[in-house]
């Protein structure tokens, strides 16, 4: 067995040496991988640059306001209406953002991070900030988004199966094409072991290449150092995915066809799993769960907001106080400015409740749609794999939902702080102003995906093994019947 293994390794090395196309495919794959990592890093650098700009924006505003406190003035000389000791302007000048920071792995799996916004302003008086996150796709080049990312996740999910195809399509089928399979079988102690080893060697080569890319990616992005556990899961998932495709191709080879037919079947599998099934699932699910014109949200942002802002404050006051037992209506009638600010905060609180409600509904709708997509996960391995990598890298929709929750939580904290300050009915002092900075929320969102993708991938692998056994049996029966190998 060991001798057979070494003989086969020597044979495969010779075959590779004599096949420039295979060697070229491996080199091109590695180059694509390196380019993908560098391209992903470029994207993450841009992302971090944006965060730096946000940080500078925050610093600049805060410093300006702190300067007014230090100079014991309420605002700039040329804009006398600005009074940073009131909640409205304190909210504006205690500038803070809820930010989705990139995981190091985000450079390897960009996911939706170039489509969705990764930051939002934390403010309790400037409208529905969780939904004010601008749409980078609309401000950018949508044709670029249409073309898709060239990140390592793409290379692994889509190009790796093709490399495996190039290396595997004529394993044993070449011998069949050349008419020497019978000779090979008679000269080999165990034809089964010969077949298994020949099928395993290309898989091993691809595992080594993928492993190289993962290690290089891990070092280059810093993931190996900063988030080893996530990188480990990322790597294991990638290696598992290689094995899955190896099993699928082995099933094709076990049917015992010629190399052209085997290649056709393999390409057919690739197209089905990497192009047709994902596109069809998207079409079917979007037809069943259409994403229309967000009327619910637009109604809250405009009609309901105005209804609350222009309505009678008494309508919202009971609910406001009931939800905040620590404060109570002022015993004495406050002055006009304070009364106006208190009314404003009662209204903003009522509006925030509406925003939280619609946000929850939107998140639920998204989750239901993803649940529908997940039902097809058993036959959608490329998407399931890509999705898992993006979840680990913190760039998938589930991570963005967590980010939106963070924004909501940050805005709510800001709202409650401002309410507490307002109900003291005193001008805001510098220390109180500085406490508002704490509402910024900068966080990474990478996490280990649920078990479902693993189960779905493993199930497909089991099906592939079963098919391999079944097709091998059929092949042997056919060979016995016809005598043709």
């Amino acid at each position: 067995m060991i001798a057979l293994f070494f003989n086969l390794v020597r044979f495969e090395i010779q075959r590779l040496g004599r096949s420039p196309m295979r060697l070229a495919a491996m080199v091109v794959f590695l180059l694509c991988g390196f380019y993908a990592i560098s391209s992903g890093l470029h994207h993450v650098n841009d992302w971090q640059e944006t965060l730096k700009e946000l940080s500078q924006r925050d610093d600049s505003r805060r410093t300006e306001a702190i300067g007014w406190f230090d100079d014991q003035v309420s605002g700039p000389d040329d804009r006398d209406w600005i009074d940073v000791t009131t909640i409205r302007y304190a909210d504006r000048y205690a500038s803070a953002h809820a930010v989705m920071e990139p995981e190091p792995l985000a450079a390897l799996a960009i996911g939706l991070s170039d489509i969705r916004s990764t930051w939002a302003v934390v403010s309790a008086t400037m409208g529905a900030e969780p939904f004010r996150t601008s749409d980078p796709s609309t401000l950018g080049n949508a044709e670029k988004l249409l073309s898709g990312n060239f990140d390592l996740a793409f290379v692994l999910a889509y190009l790796m199966p093709l490399l495996l195809l190039v290396l595997m399509f004529d394993v044993s089928s070449m011998e069949r094409d050349l008419g020497i399979l019978r000779t090979v079988r008679t000269q080999t102690a165990s034809p089964k072991a010969w077949w298994l080893l020949r099928v395993s060697l290309p898989i091993l080569v691809v595992l080594i290449l993928v492993g190289t890319l993962l290690v290089v990616g891990g070092i280059w992005t810093g993931a190996l150092e900063e988030s080893f556990e996530l990188w480990k899961t990322f790597s294991l998932a990638s290696l598992g995915y290689v094995l899955l495709w190896g099993l699928l191709y082995a099933a094709v080879l076990s049917a015992g066809t010629g190399s052209s037919t085997a290649a056709l079947w393999m390409v057919g599998l690739w197209i089905s799993f990497c192009v047709l099934v994902p596109a069809a699932v998207r079409q079917v699910v979007s037809s069943l769960q259409p994403n229309l014109y967000a009327s619910e949200l637009t109604t809250v942002l405009r009609a309901e907001r105005y209804e609350i802002l222009l309505g009678e404050v008494e309508t919202y006051a009971p609910g406001f106080y009931a939800a905040r037992p620590q404060i109570s209506p002022p015993a004495e009638a406050p002055d006009r400015a304070n009364q106006s600010s208190m009314d404003r905060m009662i209204r903003e609180a009522a509006f925030f409740d509406e925003v939280a409600l619609v946000s929850a509904k939107t998140a639920k709708r998204e989750a239901v749609r993803e649940g529908a997509v997940s039902l097809f996960g058993w036959i959608n391995p490329a998407y399931v794999f890509q999705n898992s990598l993006c979840v680990l890298a913190g760039t998938e929709s589930v991570n963005f939902r967590a980010h939106r929750n963070d924004i909501l939580a940050a805005v709510q904290k800001r709202l409650e702080s401002l309410i507490t300050l307002q109900w003291k009915m005193e001008p805001i002092e510098k220390p109180a102003f500085e406490t508002l900075f704490a509402h910024e929320n900068w966080r990474r969102h990478g996490k280990t995906p649920q078990q479902t993708p693993l189960i779905q991938g493993a199930s497909l692998g089991v099906v592939a093994i079963f098919m391999t056994a079944l097709l091998s049996r059929n092949k042997r029966a056919r060979e016995r019947k016809t005598g043709v190998v």
């Binding site: 495919a25 380019y35 470029h42 944006t50 700009e53 040329d78 939706l112 489509i115 969705r116 916004s117 601008s134 749409d135 980078p136 796709s137 609309t138 080049n141 949508a142 044709e143 670029k144 988004l145 249409l146 073309s147 898709g148 990312n149 060239f150 793409f154 889509y158 190009l159 094409d177 290649a263 056709l264 197209i271 192009v275 047709l276 994902p278 596109a279 699932v281 998207r282 079409q283 979007s286 259409p290 994403n291 229309l292 014109y293 967000a294 009327s295 637009t298 109604t299 942002l301 405009r302 009609a303 105005y306 222009l310 939107t362 998204e366 997509v373 998407y383 999705n387 760039t395 929709s397």
Partner: protein
């Protein structure tokens, strides 16, 4: 002779059950995608109508707001989908569908499909454009990879040449046979689309029919290029297996890898400013002035002085108009200039990025076919930019009318206070999108059209003059 060879190849194709099954599958997929697309579009249309109706009701229910307050309340503009977007959704899933139109602020479209989907949205669409430009070429390559090499391996090619049939005629006959298959697919798709439109009670306009025709023609042209190259490679390469590998790798590079790399490269060559910088610069220009020396307060004082002089009064309280409305409109006009400068730059950068892709389409006909497909379906970046432009124009008109009402709809009381009239805002009309004609698509996508023609000449030239080194006899495997 070419016709005879074409018929012979078609007979051979007819006898290949595997190939017929693939063609039937492609046909079914195309028709299914058109049908599902039409269903989705019908739902989207109903959804848009409902959203517009709701928005209108909310608009008409406005009570107690000044004209400028109504400007802040704003309106919503909903992007309609092109009737041919069922054939190619293009960039539409990635761009916003709703624009909040309000005073002082130029909001970009929001609520894109991509904004509420998982990364599945990146894995391609199941529409006719994708199927025709991505899958059918692969199907044709799979069908044609052994068209000549198989004949060479079986010795048929030698027999045909020995009988005096020119190699050129053989290659043309085979190519036209495979192209005929693809024409069947494209033709069936177009007929099914027209039928579905007729059944839905909304027949296509002349412009849409022209677009549909050009959509089908551009795809047919691309498929002809694919067929010619596939047949030539099958003839030029020693054996079927190598031909299959070359065609598969060629497809992968041109249809999957190069488009992504080109998109990345174009954005690195002509980078867009980050959103934060973009917003901050716009805000700066709006408050400090485009030249940095004409701040908002100074601009307001100049306008104030001009209005006072125009009406020959010394105090604002003596003006027969509401100065606030005039100031708001002047500020709005200044904001429009700022928007034009900044968005103009941004659109110019995007245009340059697309220009890079158009240049690369001379190396990769897939990019040319995809660009034309989106353009004729009315779903490319240029068409989308028109929606943004029209929405912005509507915003400017609406806010100007509201500011005019704010300035003039009222009377000055004796105590100098401005007394506003009650205004019926229901008389203000909703946004109406004016679709672009097919000329617009051709005007912006001529590089892709030229690229396809050059590719056609090149691939036809290969068959016409590149047959010299094609082996007639080859080793059988």
């Amino acid at each position: 002779m070419i016709i005879k060879l074409l018929l012979m190849e078609l007979r051979s194709i007819r006898s290949d059950g595997r190939l017929l099954a693939l063609v039937a599958l492609a046909l079914a997929t195309l028709i299914l995608s058109t049908w599902i697309g039409a269903e989705s579009q019908s739902r989207a249309k109903t959804g848009r109508a409902a959203a517009m109706e709701l928005s209108r009701q909310q608009w008409e229910a406005i009570d107690g707001l000044s004209a400028h307050g109504v400007g802040h309340y704003g309106s919503y503009v909903y992007k309609p989908s092109s009737p041919l977007s069922t054939l190619d959704s293009g960039v539409m899933p990635f761009t916003g569908k709703v624009v909040r139109v309000e005073a002082h602020v130029q909001n970009p479209p929001s609520h894109s499909d991509a904004g509420s989907w998982s990364s599945l949205i990146r894995l391609g669409a199941f529409d006719a454009g994708t199927i025709l430009s991505l899958l059918v070429p692969l199907l044709l390559a799979f069908s044609a990879f052994s068209s000549v090499s198989r004949d060479r391996e079986t010795g048929l090619l030698r027999v045909l040449v020995a009988q005096g049939v020119s190699l050129r005629s053989i290659l043309w006959g085979k190519s036209l046979a495979y192209w005929f298959l693809s024409l069947l697919l494209v033709g069936a798709l177009m007929v099914s689309h027209v039928v579905i439109d007729q059944l839905s009670g909304e027949p296509l306009t002349t412009d849409m029919k022209t677009r549909l025709l050009l959509f089908g023609s551009s795809h047919s042209l691309y498929l002809l290029i694919v067929v010619l190259l596939s047949v030539w490679i099958s003839a030029r390469v020693a054996d079927s297996r190598s031909a299959l590998m070359i065609l598969t790798i060629g497809w992968l590079v041109t249809s999957v890898v190069l488009p992504r790399i080109t998109a990345e490269f174009s954005s690195q060559l002509f980078p867009l400013k980050s959103q934060v910088t973009f917003e901050d610069e716009m805000a700066d220009d709006r408050s400090k002035g485009l030249d940095g020396h004409n701040p908002r307060d100074e601009r307001r004082n100049v306008v104030r002085q001009e209005v006072l002089e125009e009406y020959g009064v010394e105090k604002v309280s003596d003006l027969p108009v509401n100065l606030g409305g005039i100031l708001m409109q002047k500020d709005e006009e200044y904001g429009n200039q700022v928007w034009d400068v900044h968005f103009g730059r941004r659109h110019e950068t995007v245009r340059k990025q697309i220009g890079v892709v158009q240049a690369v389409s001379f190396l990769d006909p897939f990019l040319a076919a995809r660009g034309l497909s989106m353009a004729f379906a009315g779903t490319d970046q240029f068409h989308d930019a028109q929606f943004q432009r029209q929405a912005e124009n509507y915003r400017r008109d609406l806010i100007r009318v509201l500011n005019d009402l704010d300035a003039k709809a009222g009377t000055r009381q004796e105590n100098g206070r401005w007394n506003r009239e009650k205004i019926d805002y229901a008389t203000l009309s909703d946004f109406e999108f004016k679709p672009q004609s097919v000329d617009f698509a051709l005007e912006h996508r001529w590089p892709e059209a030229v690229s396809l023609l050059i590719w056609l000449i090149f691939s036809a030239g290969l068959l016409q003059i590149g047959t010299g080194r094609i082996p007639i006899v080859g080793g059988s495997r």
